[in-house]
Subunit: 343 residues, 2 copies
């Protein structure tokens, strides 16, 4: 029943400045033959993540994208065919693939999903964003009860989870976003103690008011000039978690970093650390169990923005980079397989 | 026998730009009366340290200096008088005081010196510089055998010790300084594997050549634009130790920080950490024992630049900030007390 061809979205040209639809192109291509040790997957969800923008700009932990190359993404997919010792046909896995309808990937590179929660949650809460938020707050920042944790990009896929994980550890959480509307959601639905809009003319005053006793942790999802504003507020032995750089992606040239960085780092004995969820693979199962428990016990609300159809992916990414989305953003290509609860 | 007055060097005016002699003034002032819980000290050595320049510019871990205020420094001093339960008269202590002949400080704030090594070594190897180098390499960077450690300000009071401590841990050590002359000393006398002169027109090429397999650790004593040059060379899981900011002191406005910082921190899971030796007070005795052993076993050469007389302190600091000194810089005000070996 698998067709011979599929639709893929590739990079049309390397973007210069803000991302636009012209930088993408939909192509129809042959689904490649499946090697003996690979699985053929039918993609159910493809992720919309800032990393896609990053590789269009330059190398990350993978090489830079070239024109006509598939936009990479993580996917959730149903196994159509595979080796006898691989995941069973009909089972659902997470994989690194791209914006396309089908994927052929090495069987050992897919991660079978436990049938827990809603399938879409495996794109966010129970996927890389949830794991990133979890390890960033728990392992990198080591957030403790009573601390003040400031989160930039606080309404994003990682941010909205990181804030709630910090709050569940007893921290006071301050969110920074680009709109009052997003801030209302954070305060009313997610239990943030305070929020600040960085586009507001009173931003610096608002930030100081929200952090009267300073900030113990700055969890940075944007990687831009906010760090320089935050530095004076961070207290002795404070931690800066470098988690994302959304503010940098739509730029040809990176912005200068904070002046006075080294002096502040030394005088206050600060630690700044970048990380990837992949660094903590040994603890993924434990983390997923805890994330699920936080959600089921009502301590963690998942915000999702699910779009329909492969063609909606470029617009979704453009809107994400413009800060227009709230929560986990993903594109659905196919309905959930039988057996996944759909509520 | 203690006189009623003493000479002190104070800040004449807040420097703007490069430090000069006009920013200092020698005054004669009364030695204050000694409170019951304080010691009167006769200073033997006063330190010449970049921190003196930092507090002339702005607050550090202490408030900014105001005009007519004593230049602060650590000192090594002989106890002249003190409370019965304090250090004995005639004993030698380290204290935080300033550029002056006598000091009156709380008895509990002085640190009695063990009579080991040369007294001058307690200004460097067995003082704050040695402890800073030790904890920076051992605890903050956690340098391991086989790693490449790049040190800026590599011929300075902290730098020349940090490089040798890293080498004694089995690391390959690359030094960055501002002169070929200093680099020859590092390579010929201190066992550096390679050195680079940042003033050379071939600096970037030289740096890449010296770090062919990248750098695991960047131990930064200067805090300036070198960090941006180093970032691309630092490998996965690399560490950046923020130890000093000599490059920033002679500036009215701090330089911008490295662009692309957050992206590099995340993609390579880097850790950047600032620290003070004071954070590790519980381990000072252990550290001093090991520093002494490294020196006595010939693994660690101490370079000293000792000047004579209080009046030489301002020039010494100006030269230090201009990168003209090698090793530990200090000013001697009085001969070693009886019982200290003088070789």
């Amino acid at each position: 029943m698998t067709p011979e061809t599929q639709r893929q979205i590739v990079m049309a040209e390397r973007p210069s400045g803000a991302l636009a639809l012209r930088h993408f192109k939909t192509v129809v291509s042959l689904i490649p033959p499946r090697p003996a040790d690979a699985v053929l997957l039918r993609n159910i969800f493809v992720s919309i993540a800032p990393h896609a923008r990053a590789v269009m700009q330059g190398p990350t932990h993978r090489p830079q994208l070239v024109a006509e190359e598939l936009i990479p993404s993580s996917v959730i997919a149903e196994v159509i065919a595979g080796p006898a010792d691989g995941p069973e046909p009909g089972s659902v896995v997470a994989a690194t693939a791209g914006w396309q309808e089908y994927s052929v990937v090495p069987a050992r590179a897919v991660r079978p999903l436990q049938k827990i929660g809603r399938l879409s949650h495996h794109m966010g809460l129970l996927g890389l964003n949830g794991l990133t938020a979890y390890f960033g707050i728990r392992k990198v920042a080591s957030v403790r009860a009573g601390e003040t944790v400031v989160i930039s990009g606080a309404a994003g896929g990682v941010g909205h989870l990181a804030g709630q994980i910090a709050r569940s550890a007893g921290a006071r959480v301050v969110g920074i976003t680009s709109s009052d509307e997003k801030n209302r959601i954070l305060e009313n639905q997610l239990g943030y103690s305070a929020t600040v809009n960085w586009k507001s003319s009173s931003f610096l005053d608002d930030l100081h008011t929200a952090c009267r006793r300073g900030a113990d942790v700055y969890f940075d999802n944007v990687g831009g000039p906010l760090l320089e504003k935050m530095l004076p507020l961070i207290v002795d032995r404070g931690r800066i978690v470098c988690c994302g750089v959304t503010a940098q992606y739509d730029m040809d040239n990176p912005l200068p970093g904070p002046s006075d960085l080294a002096m502040q780092m030394i005088a206050k004995s600060l630690r700044m650390e970048g990380f990837l969820a992949a660094n903590h693979k040994d603890s993924w199962n434990e983390a997923l169990r805890e994330l699920k428990e936080l959600h089921e016990s009502g301590q963690l609300t998942v915000l999702e923005d699910l779009r329909d159809g492969l063609a909606s992916a470029p617009t979704a990414l453009i809107e994400m980079l413009a800060g227009q989305n709230v929560g986990q953003l993903a594109v659905r290509l196919a309905p959930d397989p039988v057996g996944w609860r759909s509520e």
